[in-house]
Symmetry: C2
Subunit: 328 residues, 2 copies
């Protein structure tokens, strides 16, 4: 932890007390953490959650916030097929931030960290007007596995998506409408990174990413990076009953914060991939395929161009959550 | 970069365009950066600069802000004796943030990155109420060198400090008083991480850290971690003429944001260390020694207890810069 005056020490100690001691040459408390050289290639991601953008303190418990801050970073590691190793946590806290809420954030983060065997090795505290948490997380690729990137897709590869789509978006709408508990709200507050599926998929997938901006937009990114088009079978999109009833497949396409994995698998490997998912009890659904079409262009099964609903975009007035519950 | 909608792509592309393309297996643009395994042990630090805490947009140019955001992280690598390798950059930007200011931040950061041969491998954009930049930086220890930690000091070790103390604090006071240009203001805006000295010191020092909270407080941290006391020769503190005239040694002790290195060197290595500094044109000053006294207790040369002026502490009402120029 690199800011270290008396008052902050108390905050730092309190935060750290919720995490197991890192078994590294030098852990939190010095100017840097010192880590032994990594054996495999390292995957590094950094992602932030910001008050009133990714959560509100009115609707999210401190534990939810801590969970979400780590989950969105783990999801990036999952999408590359990496095994989680370590993370550092930079907290920006309003001046009056309650100590018990800091403990709550640490508890939510620590529980998820334990579950996925990732170690907190350092961090930083600073004051700020609004609460934000910026994590940098590192994972390692198992020997002999290549990372799953966005650029490896080829025409003919079959598209799969994990879990169900649109729930987190529905959860946000329900929160805005005054609801406080539902399965969809839980998906919004407590995204579950698909770590095991990511590692499994590294043996089969040609390309992939995690869905943070909505399927339509994220598939667009994969297609652009891979220089291919795509054909989606909309009626195959995996939707929960609640999402089907309220958002429909169009709404689920625009999802946002699903944190499911989108994977492209070459046709000769699909049987083996599906068998491995079945054995691993990983739920995946075949939703279409990559095509030689215009790069980034997505059609439905009847060949019609899909008008892509706008996904999550902070700068274009995306779905920023404000205190009044409006989407900004 | 892990948020990637259309509007943001433009921002991301603009930011990245100021940096050389990272020569790594996977660079910015995918869910994670992928890096080859490190050869030596890795040093990892994360540090943030926040608007109106570490800078104001009125007094700092975008280039200054970009420089400072990277400099404070490099300084942590320097203090461990590490060679800079890579960093990731998480930007939180107010909605109306001007594109030319984003370019300015990138330019200031990129110039310092080039100077110290550290590569931007990824990052993240999010919207926020106030501008903040959170970096995570990694360095590598050269084969055969141990990191310089806070905990290795022994009674009798000689204390050295690099450069001069108190200038950044004086610079802040001058900014608050309406001055806009001075050597001290430059130190406040453009801290220079002591990378070469850190690497050199790794061959000699038993302990060390970089001065971000002021010598008194940071020496206290070193002493506490090393379980030793310290004796300072106040008249030896290296002060610029301006600091001597305005703050004096008491004020310089409370410094803050000096980003100089404090090093403890065992007595049998001091001659060799001083010779190496002379050859390397690294300015260091002997300012005292570690003692077997009460851990963390600091005295002056006549044996009097030094009442430690409070250092930089956000949570206890430290020297937060607000828009009116008041210290908060």
């Amino acid at each position: 932890m690199s800011t270290r005056a008396a008052g902050e020490f108390t905050f730092i100690d309190l935060f750290l007390s919720h995490f197991p001691r890192a078994r590294v040459p030098v852990g939190p408390g010095d100017d840097c953490a010192v880590l032994a050289p990594s054996k495999g290639a390292q995957c590094i991601t950094t992602d932030a959650v910001v008050e009133d953008v990714h959560f509100t303190r009115a609707w999210f418990s401190p534990e939810d916030i801590g969970h979400k801050a780590l989950a969105v970073n783990l999801s990036d590691l999952a999408s590359m097929g990496a095994v989680p190793r370590w993370f550092v946590c930079a907290l920006a806290l309003p001046r009056d931030f309650p100590r018990r809420d800091l403990s709550g954030i640490a508890r939510g983060m620590s529980a998820l960290a334990r579950e996925h065997n990732i170690t907190l090795v350092g961090g930083n505290f600073t004051s700020a007007r609004e609460l934000s948490i910026t994590l940098t997380a590192a994972g390692e690729l198992l020997p002999g596995t290549a990372p799953i990137t966005r650029a490896g897709g080829r025409p003919g590869d079959v598209l799969y998506v994990s879990g169900t789509l649109g729930d987190a978006r529905l959860g946000l709408q329900q929160l805005q409408a005054g609801l406080r508990r539902s399965a969809a709200i839980l998906r919004q507050k407590r995204p579950l990174p698909r770590m095991t599926l990511g590692r499994l998929a590294a043996r089969f997938a040609s390309a992939g990413l995690d869905l943070s901006d909505g399927l339509a937009q994220d598939l667009g990114h994969l297609c652009t990076a891979s220089r291919v088009g795509a054909e989606l079978e909309l009626e195959r999109l995996p939707l929960s009953r609640a999402v089907r009833a309220s958002l429909g497949s169009e709404g689920a396409l625009a999802g946002g914060e699903d944190y499911e994995l989108l994977l492209a698998v070459p046709p000769e490997r699909t049987s083996a991939f599906e068998r491995a998912c079945l054995r691993g009890e990983e739920s995946v659904t075949r939703i279409g395929r990559l095509t030689p079409g215009v790069p980034g262009h997505i059609r439905d099964a009847s060949g019609r161009s899909l008008r892509l609903p706008a996904g999550f975009d902070h700068f274009r007035g995306g779905r920023r959550i404000d205190r009044s519950g409006r989407e900004g």
